[in-house]
């Protein structure tokens, strides 16, 4: 059996699973990098002044949302194909569409979380020198998140348009 025959034989489910794996996996991967980088910067700030733990923790939470958005799209796909009880048989086209629908959040989530992590890490430097300006650091990070939010919406709308 070559790859094409394998794809044909397994129907659309394989694509649906691959899609949800990309949504959850890549967005989560990005968040891991983003949150990790911010954590490194935050720990540096807290070494100097342990009182800034709360503020830096807020910043660290920001790049974590992409992973959640990815999981959200993954979950909606699983709900659609019945992972939680009785898989639905879907054809190749439906499966491929589900795969495509998961790409926006998977890809944009991955990249935006990394860069949001950088912005948030720089925000930790703001907190170090001028803790009263935390909000500005948070907004800089949130500017990056905009595109993850839009990608989430795109994925959701695409998903919403696929009928099984």
């Amino acid at each position: 059996m070559n790859l094409f025959e394998f794809m044909n034989a397994s129907g659309g489910l394989i694509w649906a699973f691959l899609g949800s794996a990309i949504a959850v996996g890549f967005a989560g991967w990005g968040s891991v990098i983003g949150v990790g980088n911010t954590g490194v910067a935050a720990a540096g700030v807290v070494t100097e002044d342990p009182g800034k733990f709360g503020k830096t923790l807020l910043l660290q939470a920001l790049p974590g949302t992409q992973g959640i958005y990815g999981l959200l799209i993954g979950f909606l796909i699983w709900q659609k194909i019945g992972v939680f009880g009785g898989l639905v048989e879907i054809n190749l086209q439906q499966g491929f569409l589900l795969f495509l629908a998961s790409l926006p959040i998977g890809l944009v989530g991955f990249v935006s979380a990394i860069y949001q992590g950088r912005a948030a890490a720089a925000g930790c430097a703001i907190v170090a020198k001028r803790p009263e300006e935390l909000a500005k650091g948070m907004v800089f990070a949130a500017m990056v998140e905009t595109y993850a939010v839009l990608a989430l919406l795109a994925s959701f709308l695409m998903l919403n348009g696929i009928t099984l």
Partner: protein
């Protein structure tokens, strides 16, 4: 709007009454002091009597003295805290100090020395104990491997015919090392005392004849010789002795701590002195803004228009010889910003101040921004149960703890945001991530995404229009009515026209409105250019800003996406938890998963809603009209932490 109008007060009074005057001003607590030393030095036309000079007040010495005193008190307060906290109820009223006891406390200042000295004494003894303890512990850990060495340490030395040595080699070389020594002479005495994690500790005795060979083997295998120079007796004895010493240190420390606990009684006195010294320091510090001549002193500051009479009364009460004048701010003059908003809009001031303090030349956006901020916040969380929880907890905090300042504003923001969250949750049928099934009153965004998109963008466009409206208001208020018509009026026409094009019923009117608006913009947007062609060109180019407006409006889609995130993550938590149910243990874990999961979901989404709601204000709304860089109104007043001055 709600920026309080200020007037500039100028006071001239007698040098001799400066002290009581500053005291009265501090108690009055409404004058935002201005440093006029520089300003006055530039005025050469001020006429003074012969020989008199105009100069700045200098109170640095006295301020420094009080600062030093204050830091002593802070040190003592901080130090006493180590010996147990003083049980004080959160709701206990602050200590009241009246004028007489205030003066008494102030005269009693030397008592601070006593307390600080005993704090220092205990502190240094603690440090001494600490270093002694570390030293003892180090010696013990050095001795521990030799615990089983049944020899007095001072006996380990060379004799006439033997050399004797204790030390260690890495355990992996032990066998080779022993073999090497034995190959030199079988009679080399090797005793293994103990085997540590990495090293093996040994006693070696050999004849002086073979010393050179033995030493060479030792070098080869990395033998580390150990010497205890000042210690006599067997290692076991010494360890016991040192452990006794450690216990002794501990008991000395405990008795010191008891002594420290006695100091806790001084806590109230120290707190009172802390505040009294702060008040005195502020009083001295503020004089550095003044200007003086030989007999008089000149004070200047901003004061809210409404309380000018109160200031006059406060000064008149203490002296008759003064001059007080009030001036309107000059047209281009910035004065300190004091906001006066109804209580529902006050929490939002926190958001605005975080961006930049409103300028006295601009408008105070808070009252208009408040409903938008709160509604957006609610939309982004939109779960009735979450909302009720957040609102209830925040309301309880407000009532019970009575927070002050920015924290109060933040908690208030959460209370209002929580209420809006509950409102939208009910509208969209979001109850604990769908666990409680109550149908939506408006619609379910998951089922009807386009209705939701419409709602979000619609609210966004309204928000943007209001922002433009505020700029128009500012233009009109400053007398630039034409600017308001050209820059905002035409945009309104164009944008509303385009929106109306979408509906068949209004399409025709919309078309003409849009064309009029666009034509108006083309004709007026380049009006600063002199060249007619350039003028039209920049007019046409300005139409490009439609894309900016489109981008701004689409940015409000985040309201939908973040609301979606809350709902679906709630669902994920529910279905994860429900999979666990069934058995008793499963049900317990299920409940734990539900509680932790939903708490996490609330946390992350409230944070997200706060940040993104702020962003919509800062980036989309403020960019239309806002003028920041104001000066915070910070009047000279009595600032206390622990006491209430009567």
């Amino acid at each position: 709007m709600a920026i309080v109008k200020m007037k500039k007060a100028t006071i001239i009074a007698l040098q001799s009454e400066k002290e009581i005057l500053t005291k009265a001003l501090q108690e009055f607590g409404g004058l935002h002091m201005l440093d006029i030393r520089e300003e006055v030095s530039e005025h050469e036309d001020i006429k003074l009597s012969k020989g008199d000079v105009l100069q700045g007040e200098d109170a640095a010495d006295e301020v420094n003295r009080l600062e030093a005193r204050l830091s002593q008190v802070k040190y003592a307060l901080e130090f006493i805290k180590r010996f147990g906290t003083i049980k004080k109820s959160m709701f206990a009223p602050k200590v009241e100090v009246d004028e007489d006891s205030y003066i008494r406390y102030l005269q009693d200042e030397p008592k601070i020395n006593q307390i600080v000295d005993s704090c220092r004494e205990i502190d240094s003894k603690f440090a001494e104990l600490k270093s002694k303890e570390t030293k003892t512990q180090n010696t013990i850990s050095q001795l521990l491997p030799w615990k089983d060495l049944d020899m007095r340490l001072e006996e380990i030395k060379a004799s006439r015919y033997t050399i004797m040595s204790i030390g260690f080699v890495a355990s992996k070389y032990t066998d080779d090392f022993k073999a090497a020594l034995n190959s030199i002479d079988e009679k080399v005495y090797i005793e293994t005392i103990s085997i540590g994690r990495e090293n093996t500790y040994m006693l070696i005795v050999c004849h002086t004849d073979i010393e050179d060979n033995v030493v060479q083997s030792m070098k080869q295998f990395g033998w580390s010789k150990v010497a205890f120079n000042d210690i006599t007796g067997t290692p076991a004895e010494n360890i016991k002795k040192l452990n006794d010493e450690l216990r002794n240190i501990e008991s000395v420390r405990n008795s010191l701590a008891e002594k420290g606990k006695e100091l806790i009684d001084n806590n109230e006195y120290l707190e009172i002195m802390h505040d009294i010294l702060s008040i005195e320091r502020d009083k001295k510090d503020v004089t550095s803004n003044f200007v003086k001549t030989e007999k008089t002193v000149l004070i200047s500051g901003w004061i809210p228009e409404k309380v000018t009479n109160d200031l006059e009364a406060a000064i008149a009460k203490i002296t008759e010889s003064y001059s007080l004048e009030f001036q309107e701010p000059r047209e281009d003059e910035l004065y300190p910003t004091l906001l006066d908003n109804p209580s529902f809009a006050q929490p939002v001031e926190f958001i605005t101040d975080q961006y930049s303090i409103p300028s006295s030349k601009g408008v105070d956006p808070n009252i208009i921004m408040a409903p938008f901020f709160i509604m957006f916040f609610g939309l982004m969380v939109s779960d009735a149960v979450y909302g009720i929880l957040v609102a209830t907890i925040s309301a309880l905090l407000l009532l019970k703890i009575k927070p002050q300042g920015n924290f109060k504003k933040l908690v208030g923001l959460m209370a209002l945001g929580g209420a809006a969250t509950a409102f939208w949750g009910i509208m969209f049928g979001g109850w604990l991530g769908g666990m409680i099934r109550i149908p939506a009153i408006m619609f379910d965004p998951l089922q009807e995404p386009f209705a939701m998109i419409g709602l979000c963008v619609g609210m966004g466009i309204l928000h943007l229009f209001v922002g433009m409206g505020l700029q128009a208001y500012k233009n009109i208020r400053n007398g630039n009515v034409l600017d308001a018509v050209f820059d905002q009026g035409f945009w309104y026409l164009l944008l509303i026209g385009i929106l109306m094009l979408a509906l068949p019923a209004t399409a025709i009117i919309g078309k003409y409105m849009a064309i009029t608006g666009a034509a108006g913009l083309v004709l007026t947007q380049g009006r600063t250019e002199k060249n007619i062609i350039k003028r039209l060109l920049s007019g046409v180019l300005s139409l490009y800003n439609i894309t900016g407006f489109l981008g701004d409006a689409l940015s409000y889609l985040r309201l939908f996406a973040l609301g979606l995130a809350t709902g679906v993550i709630g669902q994920v938590i529910n279905s994860m938890a429900l999979m666990l149910g069934g058995t008793i243990i499963g049900s317990i874990i299920m409940v734990i998963v539900l509680i932790f999961g939903h708490t996490f979901n609330i946390g992350i989404n409230v944070l997200g809603a706060y940040v993104h709601s702020s962003r919509l204000q800062y980036v989309e709304f403020f960019s239309k009209f806002y003028e920041g860089d104001g000066i915070q109104y910070n009047p000279f007043r009595i600032k206390t932490k622990f006491i209430v001055k009567k």
